[in-house]
């Protein structure tokens, strides 16, 4: 194609993928399949979601057994109850870590992730290395994230191959009985929601 549009990104570089996406977007707009406000709405939708949503769900489940039961049986209903709007055709299933079982989430085929709740996945989640190694050597991968499940704990890897998006409900850290729900939520990291590590311990948070 001789018609070169110069779509410079703010940093002055244009990746081939960004250029391709912009070309597709321009075509869709030109053909009237897509309207500019829809693009903006989509961007706002994605940016309004973040791991903080997951942390809120987890912290509520830690303090409220009824909510925990709902979260584990109907993730979307639980998310709606906390004001999140998980409208997405995919199912949202939350799997619980226990003293016997540790869960780890991956999507080997692409990068399926509960975006409707947590927003965009971290780059490492989409990397070929994580996607291929998480199923084959999950314990080694977790060690590299600085986490090792205690001896005797089963590791279950969930490969989100189809129409389900998974999130982990981590174990509540010890010595957190006195913490408020808000403080508990601060212990929940994005990585602990994927299962590559555990939540922070309260002492580490207070040190900053």
């Amino acid at each position: 194609m001789s018609d070169h549009h110069s779509h410079q990104e703010p940093g002055g570089t244009t990746s081939p993928y960004a250029a391709r996406i912009r070309a597709i977007e321009a075509l869709l707009l030109e053909k009237g399949i897509l309207e500019e406000p829809e693009v903006q709405d989509s961007i706002s939708y994605m940016e309004a979601r973040s791991p903080a949503n997951g942390a809120k769900l987890v912290a509520r489940a830690w303090v409220d057994p009824d909510f925990k039961a709902l979260l584990l049986s109907d993730g979307k209903a639980a998310a709606s109850e906390l004001g999140m709007a998980p409208q997405h055709p995919a199912e949202f299933i939350v799997v619980e870590n226990t003293p016997e079982v540790h869960n780890l989430i991956v999507c080997t085929l692409c990068s399926c992730y509960p975006r409707a709740i947590l927003g965009r996945p971290p780059d490492w989640y989409k990397s070929f290395e994580y996607r291929s190694r998480a199923v084959r050597e999950p314990r080694a991968v977790m060690r590299e994230f600085g986490f090792e499940p205690p001896e005797g704990v089963e590791v279950i890897v969930h490969d989100s191959t189809a129409d389900v998006r998974y999130m982990v409900l981590p174990i509540r850290p010890p010595d957190t009985e006195d913490l408020s729900e808000e403080d508990l939520a601060r212990l929940v990291t994005r990585d602990s929601l994927v299962g590559v590590s555990a939540p922070r311990s309260p002492s580490r948070t207070s040190r900053g």
Partner: protein, 96 residues
């Protein structure tokens, strides 16, 4: 054909080209049906602009890691769960 939780199944070793949601490393492997997740439009047809109807049953299928990888480094009680469409599964005799 419907599968019940606990039933042993083998993932078809099909080489069907195009968009499929069955990962290569599970093809031909034996596991068990953990649960029925629900029914969804067939992604193999949705991907090409078709309706994907009728919806296909989707199962959560469990595998022993030691059955998937000969050199798996971890306990025999480590598992992998994947979501597999019914038309990729066939019954397997025997017990897990």
């Amino acid at each position: 054909m419907t599968f019940e939780p606990g039933e042993r199944v083998r993932v078809l070793p099909s080489e069907k080209p195009g968009h499929v949601r069955t990962p290569a490393y599970l093809k031909g492997k034996v596991g068990w049906v953990e649960s029925l997740i629900g029914a969804f439009p067939n992604p193999e047809e949705l991907a090409y602009g078709h309706s994907g109807l009728p919806e296909r049953p989707l199962y959560k299928v469990g595998f022993r890691q030691t059955d998937l990888w000969k050199d798996y480094r971890g306990p025999a009680e480590d598992f992998l769960y994947a979501d597999i469409y019914e038309h990729w599964l066939k019954p397997e005799r025997g017990t897990t």
